[in-house]
């Protein structure tokens, strides 16, 4: 197993933050698991009973071929099939903004999992604001690299938007980590974090 390319102790910083939030020896579902980097880390370094769901055929095949339990599916359609509280954590990293119904996806995540861990790009980051206000064009940044016409990101939000949605849904925010453009956590009051944070990782639970 150790020789498989997906299994490595070095993973993307935001994935590492998510992995750090997961207690060892638990059950987790990673929705939109990509090539399985986080899954493999959770399985190999935290003994997590980890399952994945991924939209892209190439991603699913790579995961299963490296011994991970992954199905082809998407957050909007396939979370419904899982029973209540089937997992300790349901993880959605950098995918919420690409779902058709983010609110419903969040609701399903917190139904299927005892906790939800969500990471997303902050649309109120200062670079985004500058590009839209002064450039007059749809913003393209490192975390939002697409053109307006080919972006999969159809439901972008700011960190404050996300907090407001959690409030609306009566969801408890257990932890919120804001990352700057170098993917380092920053510690600022919410108003500033919403300007200087490029992305955020939230751990949520049902109230």
């Amino acid at each position: 197993m150790k020789s498989e390319p997906a299994v490595t102790a070095a993973i993307r910083v935001d994935l590492q933050l998510i992995a750090d939030m997961v207690t060892p020896d638990t059950r987790a579902l990673d929705v939109g698991c990509g090539d399985g980097a986080l899954l493999a880390y959770l399985v190999n370094f935290k003994r997590v009973d980890a399952r994945g769901m991924e939209l892209s055929q190439a991603g699913v095949n790579a995961c299963v071929a490296s011994g991970l339990s992954v199905i082809q599916g998407d957050a909007d359609a396939d979370l419904r099939a899982y029973p209540d509280a089937a997992f300790d954590y349901v993880i959605l990293s950098q995918t919420l903004q690409a779902t058709r119904e983010p609110r419903e996806v969040l609701r399903q995540m917190l139904r299927v999992g005892k906790r939800a861990i969500v990471s997303f790009p902050n649309f109120a980051h200062w670079q985004v604001r500058l590009r839209l206000v002064f450039g007059g064009r749809m913003p393209q940044t490192t975390s939002l690299p697409y053109k307006w016409y080919d972006t999969p990101n159809i439901h972008l939000c700011s960190i404050d938007d996300f907090r407001a949605l959690c409030g609306d849904m009566g969801v408890r925010i257990e932890r919120a980590i804001v990352l700057n453009s170098k993917s380092r956590p920053i510690h600022m009051p919410p108003l500033l974090a919403n300007v200087f944070g490029e992305q955020a990782v939230f751990m949520l639970s049902r109230d």
Binding site: V60, A65, S69, V70
Partner: protein, 389 residues
Amino acid sequence: MLQDLTDAEQLALAQCRHAVLGVERSLRLDCGVDLGPYRVAYQTYGTLNADKTNAVLICHPLSCDQFVSERHPVTGKEGWWESLVGPDKVLDPARYFIICVNVLGHCMGSTGPLAREPATGQPWNLRFPVVTIGDMVRAQAALLDHLGIPDLFCVIGGSMGGMQVLEWAATYPKRVFSAVPIACAAHHSAQNIAFHEVGRQAIMADPEWKGGDYRLHQTVPARGLAVARMTAHITYLSEQALQRKFGRALQDRNALGFGFDADFQVESYLRHQGSTFVDRFDANSYLYITRAMDYFDLASAHGGVLANAFRRSPTRFCLMSFTSDWLFPTRESREIVHALNAAAANVSFVEVESDKGHDAFLLDEPEMFRTLSGFLKGAAAVRGLKQAA
């Protein structure tokens, strides 16, 4: 029991093993009949390890049999899953003890309509009880008991073999460490039943069939069985595959013949498929095996809820489907995946890109082999099976 075998059965049994089961306790079939004694013909590759943890059961599809990875005793052709099973293949006999059992009702040595009814000594023919996928699996489990194999590292099969895999996981969850149902469904669809019915009607419309008693009359309903095979064969291919292979190319001629000979290559191909099938398959067996597939409906056997078939299943599942398979489309595999998710089972699912239709699972599909190899490696690590370097 070994008397009155057909030539094909004699050749088959000479090249594989068999056991006579159901002597002390007969097998209660789903139709209510107690069958016994009955014979199961099976083939094995590799050696069972000391811990008995490396047994792999391959469940064969309708038109294949227990000769998975060797020259077939009747047809002389190479084994039907030699791409998957053999030295340095995904299922390597150096690592696994591989078993394939000729299913009940078939015609390669296991008891079916060709056999004689113990009570009367007369050939069963159409008086043979209708068997189900569940009956086939229970007979396989009885064989494992007979061989002293407590559980299976993996049960794998495609098409009707996949149905057996699902049945195994549902009926004997503790005996199935991992399950790989490929290109199959949890029930046979109306369209699939319809195609099978065309095949059966073709056999029964053949005057040589004689109400199923053709052996008594020393006839063979060859044309009916050939037409059944031709129909079925079309369902195993995709429109693209047929187009790519044959298009409108003519067979041994430069112009249309203005008659009903096999003008087109595709006709000639189908006729060949039909006529060679007759040499290795029994018409009555074809009726019985297609019926078993038609009757398969795993959800209905579990209160109408498919997930109930897999509640608390400890088995690791890996499902595979193929993009161009219209006989068992991806949708039907996904239905099983959803049920497994609902049961919180451990499941992987891959849809393999292929234009080869349903038959893709029998062909050289590197993506399928890669997936399977990775899945088995992961399962073996959890099971503590030693891997070859």
